[in-house]
């Protein structure tokens, strides 16, 4: 499943992403943190996406993960709109025959997503101010 959604992401709804017969599944949830890197108190994040290209990019990342780590099934779901502190902004689930491929693919997918997917976030602070935040390039 590759999707951009507006409704809250429920961490319990990814059971389908565990492929029958596989021996390992890794779930990653990105959650809105209460503090910015500079220590300011965060109230929430506003996300927007270029949706058609975002889902294409998710599929491309999954394809690359299979090339690198073998037969891995990935699900990638990103929420857009207003997301409050403590809520899930992104979910990545990787399912594979063995745990190493599942861990590797999950890590690869979230790192690549942050670097490449056409999704943007504005950090909203407790004092009412806000600013666009860009991700650091992957090192």
């Amino acid at each position: 499943m590759f999707a951009v959604v507006r409704e809250p992401i429920d961490p319990r709804t990814f059971e389908d992403a565990i492929r029958p017969g596989d021996g390992g599944a890794v779930k990653f949830f990105g959650v809105v943190r209460d503090r910015a890197d500079d220590g300011r108190t965060v109230r929430g994040l506003s996300y927007e996406a270029f949706e058609p290209l975002a889902t294409v990019e998710f599929e491309r990342i999954a394809r690359e993960a299979r090339e690198r780590f073998g037969d891995v099934a990935l699900a990638i779901v990103h929420r857009i709109g207003e997301v409050c502190v403590g809520e899930i902004s992104v979910a990545v689930v990787a399912s594979a025959a063995h745990r190493a491929a599942a861990f590797d693919a999950c890590r690869y997918a979230i790192d690549q997503l942050k670097h490449r997917a056409p999704i943007w976030k504005k950090e909203r602070y407790a004092d009412g101010s806000a600013r666009w935040r860009e991700n650091e390039p992957i090192s």
């Binding site: 990105g30 996300y47 927007e48 996406a49 270029f50 058609p52 290209l53 975002a54 294409v56 990103h78 902004s89 992104v90 979230i110 997503l113 942050k114 670097h115 490449r116 997917a117 056409p118 999704i119 943007w120 976030k121 504005k122 666009w132 935040r133 860009e134 991700n135």
Partner: protein, 81 residues
């Protein structure tokens, strides 16, 4: 020819529009579309180096030739996750 321009995040705020229609000379390229937008909105210019452009859903270079009815999307540095 007429094209559609989509702008996201800070570029949307700078242009004050998520979507704009742009009239261009026949034979125009993505760089010409950018120049036309920056002429009406000089604040855009400083973001040129950091902006990537998609035409009809595919990333393209500034010398990509445009056609009537094309849709270009202006993509600032991303921040998903």
């Amino acid at each position: 020819m007429k094209i559609r321009v989509l702008a996201f995040a800070r570029l949307r705020e700078i242009l004050d529009a998520a979507e704009t229609a742009l009239e261009l000379r026949a034979g125009s390229r993505v760089g010409d579309a950018w120049a036309a937008l920056a002429e009406g909105c000089p604040a855009l210019e400083e973001h040129r180096a950091s902006t990537r452009v998609a035409c009809n859903g595919t990333l393209v270079a500034l010398d990509h030739a445009l056609h009537d009815g094309d849709e270009i999307a202006l993509l600032p540095p991303v921040g998903g996750g």
